[in-house]
Symmetry: C2
Subunit: 259 residues, 2 copies
C-alpha cells in the first residue's frame, strides 16, 4: 500500500527542481531496477508488485513497498508502467581533471534530447568510456526518460555537469604542461574519421542536435574530425545531411575502439 | 482556411489502416517538407502558414492551402506543430530480387519502434544504402513518427515489406546459382565485426529490439557477425548488455563502408 505522501514525492521527481532538492531520481522496470540494486547506486525505496518480489531479492536496508499494479500507474513516468519502480540517490561524483589522463572521455556540448542523452550513456558504457562531462545546458541525466534509455548503464558512468570553457581553459597546464591534450570534435570540416590516427587518450566532443558544437567550445578543439557519408565518398556530395547526435557518437566511439 | 473534411482526412492518416486505404502519408516541418517537394515523392497537398509560403515555393500542380498556426495544431501529429504539413502519396516500389546484386541492402526483422525505424532509414541514406526490406511485422515506415525521424531520408530509400522467409528461400538460385549470396546477421555469437572481411555485396539483417534475429531468419544467415564491446575486449565480459538496434545498425554500416 502506497501513501499519499509517497505518491507525491515520486511524482515530484519527474521535475528537475525536485530531483535537485531531494537529490533523488526514479528508475523503472525489471531490467533496470535489479541492475541498480547490484550497482553502487544507493537505492532508497522500491515499489514493486508481489510478482516482482517473488522473483527478485531486495536488500534488507532498502525500504520495500509491495504495491498493486494500479498503484504503480499512479507513480510511474512511463506510458505503460512496469512492475517495479525504485527511488535512488543521485550519486555524487567529484570531478578532478586528472581522471582525464590516459583514457577517452565524452564531452557533451548541450545535448538536449533525453532519449539521445540516455542512448549516449549506453554507448559510452558499451565502449568502456566511464566518464561523461555534460555542459550545464545539457538535458538532465536523472530525467526519467534518460534513465530508461540508458537501460541500466547510468549506474556505471561517472557523470559531471561543468562549465565547458572552464574545463578546457587550463587543461594543458593542469594535465601535461607543454603538450596539448587531444580534444576531438566532430565538425563539418575536418579530417576523415576513417583515415585519421586516433589516440587512446583524449576528449571527444559531441555537439548539440541542431547547431552542433558551439563556437566557444570549437575554439578548444585541436583535432577536427568529420564522418564522411558514403554518398560523399562516391559522388562528392552527401545525401542525408546529418546524422543524429547519438548515431554520430556510436560511429566515432566504434572507430576509436576498433584499433 | 482548412475544411472539416481536410482535418478529418489528415487526422485519419495517423492510423495505418487509413494510410493504406488512401495510400497517403503526412510529413511535417520546414526541413522535411521542402526536401519532399524536391524529391520523387508525389506531394498532394501542402498546409502552410503565410510565413512558410513567403520563403518557399510549392509547385503549381500541388494543392496549397494557407492556414493559421492554430489550424495546423488541429492537423499535426507533433506535440509542437511546425508551420507546414504535407500530404504525400506512398511511393510504390516494385521489388525484384535482382536489385540486391552488387550492393548492400538492409533487412529489418521486426523493428517495432517507429523512432528506431526512422533513424535506421536515415543511417541507410547516410551510408548510401538505397534499399531497405522490412518484415511484415515491422513498424510502418509511413507512420508520422517514422517519417519525422528520417529527417527527409524517407524520400530517397526504396522500402519494401516482404515475407522474409520467402525473400531468403530461393535467393541463391535466383541471384547467383551455385554461389551463396552473403547474408550477414548481427548475433551474440559470431565473428568479430572489426576483424571480419566484409563484402561490398550482400544483405545485412538487423533483429528486433528485444529478441534479436528470429530463429526462422537466423537459419538463412551465412555470415554471423558480432559487435564486441570494449569492456569485452579488455576483461572478457561485457558491461552494457546490448546496443539499441539503430546504434548497432550505425556501427555495422560504418564498418562495411569504411573500407
Amino acid at each position: 500500500m502506497v501513501s499519499k505522501k509517497q505518491i507525491q514525492l515520486v511524482n515530484s521527481l519527474k521535475q528537475k527542481k525536485y530531483r535537485e532538492e531531494h537529490q533523488l531520481f526514479i528508475a523503472e522496470g525489471a531490467k533496470i531496477v535489479p541492475e541498480l540494486l547490484r550497482s553502487d547506486i544507493k537505492v532508497e525505496q522500491v515499489f514493486a508488485t508481489r510478482e516482482f518480489l517473488e522473483r527478485h531479492t531486495v536488500g534488507e536496508n532498502i525500504e520495500c513497498i509491495e504495491v498493486k499494479y494500479n498503484e504503480l500507474e499512479r507513480l510511474s513516468a512511463q506510458t505503460t508502467p512496469s512492475d517495479v519502480l525504485a527511488v535512488c540517490k543521485i550519486p555524487v561524483h567529484v570531478f578532478d581533471k586528472k581522471v582525464l589522463k590516459g583514457k577517452l572521455t565524452l564531452v557533451l556540448d548541450d545535448i538536449k534530447d533525453p532519449g539521445n542523452l540516455g542512448t549516449i550513456i549506453r554507448i559510452a558504457d558499451w565502449f568502456g568510456i566511464d566518464t561523461i562531462i555534460c555542459s550545464k545546458e545539457s538535458a538532465d541525466a536523472y530525467n526519467p526518460k534518460v534513465v530508461q534509455a540508458t537501460m541500466g548503464s547510468i549506474a556505471r558512468i561517472n557523470l559531471h555537469y561543468l562549465e565547458l570553457s572552464e574545463l578546457f581553459s587550463d587543461l594543458n597546464t593542469s594535465l601535461d604542461p607543454g603538450k596539448s591534450f587531444p580534444i576531438y570534435g566532430a565538425l563539418l570540416e575536418g579530417e576523415d574519421l576513417y583515415k585519421k590516427q586516433l589516440s587512446e587518450e583524449g576528449i571527444i566532443v559531441i555537439g548539440n542536435e541542431s547547431r552542433g558544437i558551439s563556437g566557444a567550445v570549437e575554439a578548444f578543439v585541436n583535432q577536427r574530425i568529420t564522418i564522411p557519408s558514403f554518398a560523399h565518398y562516391k559522388s562528392g556530395k552527401g545525401e542525408a545531411e546529418s546524422l543524429n547526435a547519438a548515431i554520430a557518437t556510436a560511429i566515432i566511439c566504434s572507430e576509436f575502439r576498433r584499433g
